[in-house]
Symmetry: C2
Subunit: 159 residues, 2 copies
């Protein structure tokens, strides 16, 4: 990556308010990431989350509450016949927007940590064509690391 203008002298600035760092405060734990994986697979209910991720209900409860508080999940009441009202955990737009991050990790694990490309394949539903997570321009072209540049966001108000 190239650093533009005032950013070029890397000793002259610190990565304050870094979005990577902020994002990690939310989804920086194993359980948060794996709960998201399960949500993408279609899981919505408390017990299923705990069970399928392989964490205790205590851990699932506190992580799900955190993620719901932040807005990654929406907690919605539902009612099976003959059962009392319970809550299911549905991904919000904010939660769905994490799909590239989770799939990027999966893709990297498939490629570099598995001997056989991993146990699962993600494809486009209509065509069955494999999908990849990529760094793209608006026209959909993949952009390599050495063709990226970082610039300061235009100043709004302070900073």
């Amino acid at each position: 990556m190239k650093l533009e203008g005032p950013l070029a002298d890397r000793d002259a600035w610190r990565a304050t308010r870094c979005s990577v760092d902020l994002a990690l405060t939310v989804v920086g734990t194993r359980s948060a990431m794996l709960l998201l994986r399960e949500a993408f697979y279609g899981t919505t209910r408390f017990h299923d989350f705990a069970d399928r991720v392989g964490i205790t209900e205590a851990a699932a409860a506190s992580r799900l509450r955190e993620l719901a508080d932040i807005g990654v999940f929406e907690k919605r009441p539902y009612r099976d016949e003959g059962q009392r009202t319970r809550h299911e955990y549905l991904l919000t737009d904010m939660g769905r927007a994490l799909l590239p991050a989770v799939l990027a990790l999966m893709q990297w694990g498939d490629e570099y940590l598995q001997t056989d490309g991993g146990p699962l394949r993600v494809v486009e539903d209509d065509t069955g064509a494999p999908v990849r997570v990529q760094v793209c321009t608006a026209d959909g072209a993949d952009v390599a690391l050495d063709r990226l540049r970082v610039r300061k966001a235009p100043n709004r108000k302070g900073r």
Copy 2:
């Protein structure tokens, strides 16, 4: 996401050997992710890593060693004039392949955790056009969550 064939009954299988989980054993810590961020910004030297990430040298040393052992970084000797031989940490192909994962987190943080879109913008070097991390088919079209399907990888040997 839709689950194909034998995967459809989510109670009938467990996400064993999950690549997300494996990837998290490697880059599941805050320090690992932030070291990668710095590496993408061009940092190569020990002290700079510790300093710019804002972690102690002890933490930087152990994390960098882990990542180098796994193959995310290559440790290469260098020599400044009048100095003794030292080592710099260079991203390998394996490490560079983590760019989409890190940028995906940054993008999500910019969008949902910052009030102003975050402090930095990543653009294509030649054109200055903004880039995005996306789930794409081979022709570069973005694929939404509900148009994805998960299938089992073809069996090679066991499992």
